[in-house]
Amino acid sequence: MAVKIKINGRELSVEPEKTVLQAALEAGIYIPHFCYHPRLKVSGSCRMCLVYIEKTPKLQISCATKVAEGMVVETDNDEVRKARQAVLEFMLKNHPVDCPVCDKAGECTLQNYYMEYDKEPSRLSRHDKKVKKGKRVPMGKTLVLDQERCVVCHRCIRFMREVANHDCLTDARRGDRTVITTFPGEPVDNPYSLNLADTCPVGAWTSKDFRFKKRVWFLTNSPSVCPFCARGCNIFIDHEKGVAWRLRPRENNAVNQCWICDEGRLACKAINDNRLTKAFEKEGSGRKEVSMAAGISAAAKLISESRGRIFGIISASATLEEAELFKKLIKTMDGTLGSGCRKEGQDDQLLKRADRDANLKGISGLGIDRIAGEGIVKAELIVVLESLYSEPINGTSGKKAVVLSPKLSELAQSAAVGIPIAAYSEAGGTFVNFEGRAQKFEAALELKGDARPGVWVLRDLAQKLGLEI
């Protein structure tokens, strides 16, 4: 049974278990908040979401107040505005306001709210001192904590406790000396630790990987899907001028809520480093760079020469589109084919899957099975389509190979012909995750060097071979 409430004069019909804040946000009425997070338990400590509710003696926190029939809420009257200003003033009392050197600047909740709801000059006297706390406390391998910037919203504590299942953070000391910390000597060592940097509304938690690297307002945020395991977490690739600077989780309740694992996040480096940008042919013991057209011709020549004795290997992290074309091409050339998988990891009951290929389900759906047994040994030529995170496959070393790869992998280095293709981040495509959920995503970055999306290269190759596919 829905209840009727009124927020800022707008009549709403909401489910009774909702809080005022949830009801307002769903109706598009924004109530500022620091400690409230849709995925975490209510803490109710930041006091930013105070609203006026008729027939209550004082302002109520909307994050912890359940809706009730006939409730009349004001989110933007004078009293509420003043209360918000007061909360912001208190938060800024001991905040170092070091935005010029803070990595969060540009996407900082405190900064945004100050501009939106306060904009008052500071009333701190020249005599007032700010409380000194830890400015760069190393917290494990991935994170640095700035306790002075912290607004003590407890999101990090709750994330570690409730989501990461690793109750390692606590607050210590009291009053304005309160700091977030670990138990003495304990690092924040968790496969999901870097989510703290996103979850933190201010610049208290920063990632060692991204710290001092880039101002966020230069970055373009392109939606994508993480290829690092079979979960298919939704991500943003934050990039500038063809360089990916960081990966961030993108909210998707059905897949990854709003988290990603550290491994997937730090895999960002692979987008930029060690990429194959030119086609090449083997020449003696070295490689000779050639144009794309020449490379494709050389590959076509090798393939047609070995017709019938070809083994095709497609990375299980290749997109569905690439896989389909690849299968047709190999089948028309009377070859056999299989998918190349990465080494299995461990299922952690949260996001990470044991199966670390983004599209294994999709590719096996096309009738391409994992490489089994002797196919490779018997083949005269192997044609390999690799992806960004492909690992070496048993039995391929020393084989004559045509390699289509986004990176200069071990296999590509010894290939007879190597052709650069775009990675998931530059090509886009479709991944089918372990549940069978097909997720289509667009290209995020520009193409690198001569590299072209896999489907283009396969199409050109087919044309060169005179095939109709």
């Binding site: 909360v87 938060m91 009392k93 009053g175 309160t178």
Partner: protein, 449 residues
């Protein structure tokens, strides 16, 4: 020489007799007896008869009796104790009684005396209260600094177990009751009921958001009632002597007696048991032996540091009960009367209090966490004269911005002296700023040793 001694003795006798007529010994009946904390002493004065009587009654009847007696919470809020007990659900979940012995309010030292001198009265009260609520477990949450009272309590609880007053099937009834003494780690905020519950559970003392209230979800998520030591200790008398006997004392709306802790510039500071509605000036001038060194009265904080201060002229016709003090613009609070004589620097007083609240704020809610510390800084700067006139207004507004904006009332308690002192004694604050420091050589008229 002899004549003078006789005269002095006469004066003392007159004093003693006079005080005896004023003081009513219900809670403090056994205080001062040899081994007053012992089981034998308590039994000799009719102890544990009330518990026996109560356990022969229906639990609901017991709660009704306490409600009829009009016993109000002695911790500060003054909520009717009997009503609080009826909030406990009647289901099969385990229920808990937490006795709040985290006596931390500056100026308050009454619960300590009960536990030191008559712990069995508290234990008997616990038995009755638990019977009324159907609680089989009780925690006495005692502040860590009270090592001696805690030891005495533990000893008294052992004695009660041995006598069969605690444990399984007490007084031959099918009713089990276990009592534990839980020592706090020294946080003022743990005197607030929900953070007390958190602390009992072994966590950091952070107040919880209400609702759900403790009777719905308290200790270990089970129904819980939190009562002050003095409230619980008042219960045996009501059950033993009856509602009418209890209502003989005090006023219509605030019946009974209360322990008043009087401190500050009086000749005989201490704990006195007086009927509610007792005149404040009579407490100062007669019971407490008048102002120290004949100093003039400047102001009184009637209920602990978190209640509004009353100037001398406001104190004249004030009676010490819940309603009269609210009418006078203050609160009865915990009954901690702090007497301030002329010559005391109010700015220094505020500096001390703001420092206390800044030290004790738990750090959960933004306004209190940052506001208390900031206020302490400004109060200190005004006291040493390193401030501008605008700082007084900033200080006042900090208090205004804290009131009613936090999970627990600690911010309200901290804001009260800030707003109250800066508005009632503004000229003193201005004098400090103008004169670049305290105008008095010593902020207190008397050196305390």
């Amino acid at each position: 020489m002899k004549k003078e001694w006789v005269f002095l003795l006469c004066v003392l006798c007159v004093f003693a007799v006079k005080n005896m007529t004023d003081e009513i010994k219900i809670l403090s009946a056994n205080w001062g007896k040899p081994d007053s904390a012992g089981m034998e002493t308590y039994l000799a004065s009719g102890g544990y008869q009330a518990a026996q009587k109560a356990l022969a009654m229906e639990p609901a009847k017991v709660a009704q009796e306490v409600l009829d007696a009009g016993l109000r919470g002695r911790g500060g809020a003054g909520f009717p104790a009997g009503r609080k007990w009826t909030f406990m659900p009647k289901d099969n979940r385990p229920k808990y009684l937490c006795v709040n012995a985290d006596e931390g309010e500056p100026g308050t030292f009454k619960d300590r005396e009960i536990m030191l001198h008559d712990p069995h009265m508290l234990i008997e009260g616990i038995i009755i209260a638990c019977w009324a609520m159907g609680a089989n477990n009780s925690y006495i949450y005692i502040r860590g600094e009270f090592a001696q009272p805690a030891n005495i309590l533990e000893k008294a609880i052992d004695q009660a177990y041995k006598k069969g007053y605690l444990g399984d099937n007490i007084f031959g009834k099918n009713f089990n009751l276990n009592v534990w003494v839980h020592r706090g780690a020294g946080a003022y905020v743990c005197g607030e009921e929900t953070s007390l519950i958190e602390s009992v559970e072994g966590r950091r003392g952070h107040p919880r958001i209400r609702p759900p209230f403790p009777p719905q979800r308290g200790v270990f998520d089970m129904p819980t009632t939190v009562n002050n030591v003095e409230t619980i200790a008042s219960v045996p008398y009501i059950l033993k002597e009856g509602v009418a006997a209890y209502r003989k004392f005090g006023t219509e709306k605030s019946p009974g007696t209360k322990l008043f802790c009087i401190s500050g510039h009086v000749n005989r500071p201490g704990v006195y048991e007086l009927p509610l509605g007792f005149p404040l000036m009579k407490l100062i001038n007669e019971v407490a032996g008048g102002m120290l060194n004949g100093l003039k009265l400047k102001a009184v904080i009637p209920g602990g540091s978190s209640t509004p201060i009353l100037k001398a002229e406001e104190c004249r016709n004030v009676n010490l009960d819940y309603e009269s003090l609210v009418a006078a613009g203050s609160m009865l609070g915990s009954g901690a009367v702090i007497v301030i004589a002329e010559g005391t620097c109010i700015v220094k007083l505020l500096e001390i209090l703001t420092h206390f609240y800044a030290h004790e704020s738990c750090g959960q809610c933004t306004p209190c966490r940052e506001g208390t510390g900031w206020a302490a800084q400004i109060a200190h700067r005004i006291f040493i004269g390193d401030a501008d006139m605008s700082d007084i207004d900033v200080l006042y507004s900090l208090g205004a911005n804290m009131v009613g904006r936090t999970v627990c009332p600690l911010a309200d308690a901290a804001a009260c002296p800030i707003m109250n002192y800066t508005s009632k004694f503004r000229e003193e604050f201005e004098a400090h700023i103008k004169g670049h420091g305290c105008p008095n050589k010593n902020p207190f008229p008397v050196e305390f040793k």
